[in-house]
């Protein structure tokens, strides 16, 4: 057999390219000053930018009031941003009406959930064992937030702020993804009853706005359950959000299942794999990898959607901030408070979307295309 190396042995040995990569100065010129007109534009816009940034810095940093000791200082002439409102109200904003002495529990629960999300995001940790991680994390977080067995007891109506937002998001995702899988697989089922129920559920919750779903769960459900039977408000909100998220995610998963080449199904079947082992070991791992970017998108949206629960009286992060700003002493400085929580939301969402981009690239190198 001919040695394949002969096929790639170079006839002309390789050399370096003639010019090095263009130096930084040359690149700058090419990007910002390619023609005189564009160069002029660069200067004008640059000057504008500098002026805007200077004014922003002046408002946000130089003239800003940082200490909450004297609320009147914020309304004084020439005062800049009133960051003092954040200094004064940050506890309420972050934790809502959670008992002050127990804030450490809420903070710890938040960190646990964030850690679980980070671990779940690493591809090397993608295995069914992730389910155990989540069960443990949620159990711990619930113990911290509800108490009992050594900690002071609380109820879900004490929950508020960031822990509520995170718990709601974590619950929505960890319950909604399995639901999405069930609905997506059931939608392709051969049994007409299963197929109908799954299609019906998906179409119903995709067709209703989230507000309507939350109102249904929160107001109409108790009416029909009658007096004396009250389902926990947090649970009601969670059910609404899980159904809503599950319906959308189911369609995403279905897209992934359809995108998978039919050959994968055929190979698995030819090897004699029965349906469920085939789905769990061959099909779903690949289909889900395909749709990770779309799923992360959905998760980001679910995270932001938690702010809707304010309409049913739960104090999520945004709702707690709004409530905290009722204080007559600080009510004129809502802008800075909202800027602050915007930054927090943005930090979470931006992290998630950078992750989605990274994952997309990583998956491509992981699965280079096989033969056409």
């Amino acid at each position: 057999m001919t040695d394949p190396a002969h096929l790639t042995a170079p006839v002309v040995p390789a050399r370096r390219p003639p010019h090095g990569a263009p130096g930084p100065l040359a690149r700058l010129k090419a990007t910002y000053f390619p023609t005189p007109l564009q160069g002029l534009l660069t200067v004008v816009l640059g000057a504008l930018l500098v002026v805007l940034l200077a004014r922003l810095a002046d408002w946000a940093v130089v003239g800003a009031v940082w200490s909450p000791a004297d609320p009147a200082a914020c309304s004084a002439d020439g005062a800049g941003a009133c960051w003092a409102v954040v200094a004064e109200k940050h506890r309420v904003m972050f934790f809502g009406a959670f008992p002050y002495e127990e804030h450490w529990r809420a903070a710890l629960a938040c960190l646990l959930i964030i850690a679980a999300f980070v671990v779940s995001a690493l591809p090397r940790c993608w295995s069914p064992h992730l389910a155990w991680l989540w069960i443990a994390t949620l159990a711990l977080a619930l113990w911290l937030m509800l108490g009992g067995a050594g900690l002071a007891e609380l109820s879900t109506s004490d929950w508020g702020g960031l822990p509520l937002t995170l718990l709601l998001s974590a619950g929505t995702v960890s319950l909604g993804l399995p639901l999405a899988l069930v609905l997506a697989l059931g939608r392709n089922s051969t049994m007409p009853a299963v197929r109908l129920i799954c299609i019906g559920t998906i179409e119903l919750f995709r067709g209703l706005p989230l507000l309507a779903v939350l109102f249904m769960a929160s107001l109409i459900l108790p009416l029909f359950l009658g007096e004396g039977v009250t389902v926990d408000k947090f649970v009601r909100a969670l059910v609404g959000m899980v159904l809503f998220f599950g319906a959308y995610a189911a369609e995403i998963v279905r897209g992934g299942l359809q995108a998978l080449p039919k050959g994968q199904y055929e190979a698995a079947m030819s090897l004699g794999l029965p349906y469920w082992p085939m789905m769990i070991t061959v099909i779903l791992p690949q289909a889900l990898r395909i749709v990770v970017p779309a799923l992360v998108n959905d998760i980001i949206r679910a995270f932001k959607n938690t702010s809707f629960v304010a309409v049913i009286g739960l104090f999520d992060f945004l709702g707690a901030t709004k409530a905290s700003l009722q204080d007559p002493l600080w009510v004129r400085h809502t802008l800075e408070a909202y800027l602050f929580i915007m930054a927090v939301y943005f930090a979470f969402c931006w992290a998630m979307s950078r992750y989605a981009l990274w994952i997309e690239r990583r998956i491509d190198t992981d699965r280079p295309s096989h033969a056409p």
Binding site: L271, L273, P274
Partner: protein, 242 residues
């Protein structure tokens, strides 16, 4: 001993009659090559042999099992291995895991035993050092050889090949055909759909020639290539062996 018996098998895709009164017997240890112009139904025929395509009329017996229901399908697929044109390796698993997945899940082998068997088979085809890589990191020829090894892991009674080299770059076709030839010489029962006439002539025990869903001619390769009986076979030969 017959490994495969097809009796008056017919199949339609909608109104299209794709397999017409197919009668074919394959004995144990035989290597049969199925060829013919495109659209002749050869792929469809081979895909009925492990029930990837159902038949509409006729009787089909593979590896001693009459294909007539879900349970029969399950049994047949355990005994029949299939190699695809596009390899269909599981891209999210390493080579070694591709090989051990089915033996562990379907045959109930322990992880240890499955890996041992896998490494032994990979060694035979010279790919033992690729065991920890992902399919995407291998060349086409290597991937197809892994795919063949994957079917061998199940110790099948019959091997089916659906145009195994059609998607390969020419310089890699040889290594795959080489492996298939070795398997044939071992005495395995093989049915191959292929355009590689060199392989057919040197390795096959019988050539089956199809046109428009029917078997037009079947003969040992010497007779088929040197003295084709039908006009269609002659025309086909002229087109293929230019």
């Amino acid at each position: 001993m017959t490994a495969i018996t097809m009796n008056q098998v017919n199949k339609w895709f909608g109104a299209l009659h794709v397999l017409r009164d197919i009668a074919l017997t394959v004995n144990q240890g035989e290597t049969v090559v199925v060829c013919g112009p495109s659209g002749s139904g050869k792929s469809t025929l081979i895909r009925t042999l492990n029930a990837l395509e159902p038949i509409d009329q006729g009787a089909l017996t593979v590896a001693g099992i009459r294909l007539d229901g879900a349970e029969a399908r399950r049994q047949v697929r355990r005994r029949v291995g299939m190699v695809f044109q596009s390899f269909n390796l599981f891209t999210h698993l390493r080579v070694i895991d591709n090989l051990t997945l089915a033996p562990e899940g379907v045959l109930g082998l322990s992880r240890h035993a499955a890996e041992a068997r896998a490494l032994a088979l990979l060694d035979r085809v010279g790919l033992a050092d690729q065991a920890r890589k992902f399919p995407g990191q291998l060349s086409g020829g290597q991937q197809q050889r892994v795919a063949i090894t994957r079917t061998l892991m199940m110790e099948p009674e019959v091997l089916l090949f659906d145009e195994p080299t059609s998607a390969l770059d020419p310089e890699m076709v040889h290594e795959v055909l080489h492996l298939m030839e070795a398997l044939s010489r071992e005495g395995r029962t093989m049915v191959c759909v292929t355009h590689e006439m060199g392989f057919a002539r040197n390795v096959a025990d019988r050539v089956v020639f199809m046109v428009s869903g029917s078997i037009v001619e079947q003969a040992p390769p010497d007779r088929f290539f040197d003295a084709p009986q039908s006009d269609a076979a002659r025309t086909f030969m002229a087109q293929v062996l230019h």
